[in-house]
Symmetry: C2
DNA sequence: CTGAATCCATATGGATACTG
DNA sequence: CAGTATCCATATGGATTCAG
């Protein structure tokens, strides 16, 4: 660790270790438009495709499929196909997926808490800009 | 809160409150390709444009500018222009910005810890797929 | 029901050149 | 030094259609 730089988190050094390249690669996929929301929804337990689709308003079938595939590929979600007709497929967080829940919800919690402040700041900013020219 | 759903985080209900629409809007901007990395770098204190550009390998001038503008607009970073020539501009986290540091680094820490596991899972997944056809 | 495939619009982001 | 402006390639993601 460099000289008197205030590092209040043990991973801060690792983040900058390779310029954040490794971190970015993983984070880009965890932190996208839908992943955190799907993970948060799967906190409720094992759910099937349609349940997820209904509980996450606004997500398209395509994006739900892609998000679930990525989560499955990364070992964060397990996929169970029941040999029935009509087909029934259930998704569930793996232990690794559940371990993501807490930091993900912490970030989500931060976002929710700061929505009013951020939106106020944005309005002030655009007003300022508006007067500017 | 619905029936016996295991909710181990106080904000989980709010996340699904509006289907995550509000959350997504904010989270999409916090959780993009560069924001977390810029915030983490500003943990070191007040930095000028060139310092940030040098400490975040891979970021383009354009994206650093855009990311800083968004953070400034959201009240998470302050921008100080010194009336000198050549110009000197310094960026620093606001208190709100600093409050983002901990959840952001927690998520980053999770990502770093799980990189090996995730990459192993990906390899296994593509091998499986490879055998599939 | 659970997808995969296709089409298309927009967003993101890098490279480069230019400015005060 | 600290940007802005422009061009262009790729990524993202919605809508729709088709299939097992």
């Amino acid at each position: 660790m460099p000289e008197g730089v205030p590092m209040n988190f043990p991973h801060a050094c690792m983040i900058k270790g390779d310029g954040g390249r490794t971190l970015r690669r993983i984070l880009d996929q965890i932190c996208n438009k839908w992943t955190l929301l799907v993970v948060a929804t799967l906190d409720a337990g094992r759910l099937r495709f349609t349940d997820l689709h209904r509980q996450i308003p606004g997500i398209s079938q395509r994006m739900l499929t892609l998000t679930l595939r990525n989560l499955e590929r990364d070992g964060l979600v397990s996929r169970t196909v029941h040999a029935e007709v009509p087909p029934r497929v259930e998704y569930e967080l793996t232990p690794a997926g559940r371990s993501l829940l807490q930091p993900a919800l912490a970030l989500a919690g931060w976002a929710i808490e700061h929505v009013p402040q951020i939106e106020a700041s944005r309005e002030a900013y655009s007003e300022q800009r508006g007067r500017g020219h």
